[in-house]
């Protein structure tokens, strides 16, 4: 089987001036990353993540072993043409402005002037730096520089994207956007190697992960497999005490233990919402303008005979509409109301998209724990419980339907 990246006992030992071994940065690493996979390389500081990337790209030479990347050598220009690389920090030419920076990298790829110009505009749109495109990169904040760094890595429409700590220095919206972008690129058939110690980033986007420590792989596998538990989580909108009691009753009948709490809204969600409101009021900013420009970029790029871009543009435009809709709902009515009398729409959904702004701020969270090992029949039973629950509340509260709709839309967009 062919791998996008394969290493064979890759070892890197840093020696001092006298040739004495000092640090074993990467130790006998055998990494296999398949095509069209989002692979996360995790590890604490100094565990050899970045060194591994540098070895892959030919910035360092291995002491022992070798690395095959897209079927070739990472230092070969032909291979480089298919790779996008974002280093741990955005190392940019301070005296170039954003547009010139991208133009420079575009030229290195030998892109024709027309293609280059088009891609630059799309990328600037995408990373939200179009308004500051003529400012020298040296005056950018760290997050803005990061965005340019990312744009730089995408200018050649790479098959393999190597991202080293892509979200450092980015605001939560930027982080969210990068995560979305990674998922979208994966959908387009790109292979992505993501290197991070921010676990949330990795967890959200990666298909497979490896945890590196001391230059060795300590654990490797699919995220789902590694994190699988037998617990189930049901999130609802605010419930009356009687309803909670009845649910408890049902669960007791099923011999399941349950724990009921009122979860806080994620700070990330709250933050994104606040900024979205400010943007709606056209608050001026000298920083990066975070909108859902990803869709614009991809749509624009698709006109330049980039078929893959077309795939994504559709889903994104949908996302845009839902987001504005939600924001409008939230601001005037729901927020104060929910704080006072907790009479809100309910929603039972197994998957919750945490990052998307929701019309409901306070949810009742019911955590259940299955007493017996999971079987197919149990699954089936639980499904019927859910049906029953939703059915009842629908009868009781006429708001439910609307909430349900919103929720499912949000869920869809998030999944996309």
């Amino acid at each position: 089987m062919d791998y996008a990246i394969e290493t064979f006992s890759l070892t890197k030992v840093f020696s001092d001036w006298w040739g004495r071994d000092k640090v074993i940065a990467v130790d006998d690493l055998n990494l296999r990353i398949q095509y069209n996979e989002v692979f996360g390389l995790l590890g604490p500081n100094g565990s050899g993540k970045t060194t591994t990337l540098k070895l892959l790209l030919g910035l360092l030479y291995p002491t022992k072993g070798r690395a095959v990347i897209l079927g070739g050598d990472g230092a070969d220009p032909k291979i480089n043409a298919k790779i996008g690389f974002l280093p741990e920090e955005s190392y940019l030419y301070r005296y170039l402005n954003a547009r010139e920076t991208l133009d420079f990298y575009g030229r290195l790829f030998g892109l024709a002037a027309k293609v280059r110009k088009m891609r630059i505009e799309s990328l600037l749109d995408m990373v939200g730096l179009k308004a500051v495109a003529n400012r020298p990169v040296g005056t950018f904040s760290k997050g803005m520089a990061r965005r340019i760094g990312l744009a730089q890595a995408l200018i050649n429409d790479p098959d393999l994207l190597i991202l080293d700590e892509p979200t450092t220095g980015l605001d939560p919206i930027g982080t969210r956007q990068i995560k979305d972008l990674v998922l979208k690129l994966a959908e387009r058939g790109k292979t992505i190697l993501l290197c991070s110690h921010l676990l949330a980033d990795v967890e959200d986007v990666c298909d497979r992960i490896a945890i590196l420590y001391g230059g060795r792989i300590q654990a490797e596998g699919k995220v789902k497999d590694l994190l699988q538990t037998n617990k189930k989580q049901i999130t609802t909108s605010d419930l009356s005490d009687t309803a909670v009691e009845r649910i408890k009753q049902i669960l007791q009948d099923e011999h399941a233990q349950c724990e009921i709490t009122s979860p806080m809204d994620k700070l990330e969600t709250f933050f994104i919402k606040t900024v979205a409101i400010a943007q709606e009021h056209a608050q001026p900013t000298s920083g990066a303008v975070s909108t859902t420009q990803i869709g614009d970029f991809l749509a624009a790029a698709s006109s330049g005979d980039n078929i893959l871009d077309k795939l994504v543009s559709a889903t994104v435009s949908e996302e845009t509409t839902t987001e504005t809709l939600k924001t409008r709902q939230v601001v005037p009515t729901e927020v104060p109301e929910s704080k006072t009398d907790k009479e809100l729409l309910s929603k039972l959904s197994k998957t919750v998209e945490p990052a998307q702004p929701k019309p409901v701020i306070q949810n009742e969270k019911i955590k259940t724990e299955s007493v017996e090992p999971k079987t197919f029949e149990k699954e089936h039973v639980k499904k019927s419980i859910l049906d029953r629950l939703t059915g009842r509340f629908a009868e009781r509260d006429e708001h439910i339907e609307q909430a349900e709709e919103n929720k499912s839309q949000t869920g869809d967009a998030g999944d996309a």
């Binding site: 910035l59 360092l60 990472g74 043409a81 790779i83 190392y91 030229r107 290195l108 790829f109």
Partner: protein
Amino acid sequence: MRSIWAVAINTIRQALRLKIAAAFIILLLILLPVMGVSVTGDGTLKGRLQTFVSYGLSLTSILLCLLTIVVSVYSLTSDIKQRQIYTVITKPIRRFQFLLGKLLGVALLDIALLFLFSIIIYGITVFMPGFYNATATELTEADNEFYTARASLAPPDIDVSKEVEEVYSKLKKAGQLPETMSYNEIIKQLTSVTKLERRAVAPGYILPLLFTGIKPIGPNESLFIRFKYDVAVTPTDSQIIGRWLVGDYRQIQYGEKSDTPIYDATYKHSIRTIHEIEVPASVVPADGRLCVAFANPPINNTVVFFPIEDGLEVLYKADTFTGNFVRVVLLIFFRLVFLASLGILAASFLSFPVAILFCLVIFFTATFSNFVIESFNFLGRNLSSVYSYTVKPVIQLLPQFDKFNPTKFLIPARLLSWILVAKAAALMVCVKSLLLLLIALLIFSFKEIARIIV
């Protein structure tokens, strides 16, 4: 090629936007016109012109040399140190292309700046007579001795080796050889003494010297006898009276009748300074064999001789000032190309301050290469074999900036021939710069870019 070009353009932007080049440019833009107005030289128009061109070109050359060193070294070391190179070298560009791009960028910047400043210097030089309302004589003098390009001919070198051998064996028989000197040194000294004897004239005698291959542009032009007197006994007024005969060699030497006229004049000149006598070009016979004879009248009462190096030569107009100026600027350009390659080599394995220092040392050594080479030869005379296989080849690699010094040609309005330009190009660009660049490429290709060395 596209990627080389991208790197080159980026290098130029870096030099301009980080204001590395700005300091040099502003300094030159102010200094050159100021110098043009303020120079006086020896008070004559020619003196002003010579002083201006001398200082102007030297200053431009030195500042551009320094600029080239700084830009080429900074451009590469900062890329490595600030790690922009991580994002560049992982793009489809080979490492040699990256270095060539840097070199091309520096070279283009040099071409642009050199062009700008040469135009300024040239303009001021050409329009200077207008600023001063120079007199007609001053103008003629400037036209003849500055706004021109004169080829120079030295008297043919005479082979004196046999004579020297005889003197040596004679001295050896007599046991008068100095014990502290080696054979080579003795021979060398004897040779120079013998040669000087051939260019010495006792009072009442005449020294005829043959110059061949003289081809002035036209018969209405002038020839110039450029000479410097040296004497055995200094006269009271430090001046020498000399009678100069210039014409067909056969007529002066053998008394044959010639079609061309013979120039015959007597002058009084101070000793140990360079003088020029203007002679009409019509005295040159068709075959180009010209005799220049110096008669030492008995009244001088001392032996007069012409130093080997610059004692006596014939100058004649062979090209225009403009042509010469262009070639001189080319010489400066070759120098800059060499320094750019040197800077890139230094930056490929040294950090910024060390690389700058390294380049400056090479630059100043090259500027005084003659002195350096001679002193090394002198020091190395006792370790001949070790020296000639180790230090000597390395020393030979030094570019000889003083040998190709631009002002050496423009101030005496001496022709810088295309042959010499080609020689300089071959030596400085094709051999030495290329060698440096190859070493740099080799080092850079095998270097671990991401390796941080503290």
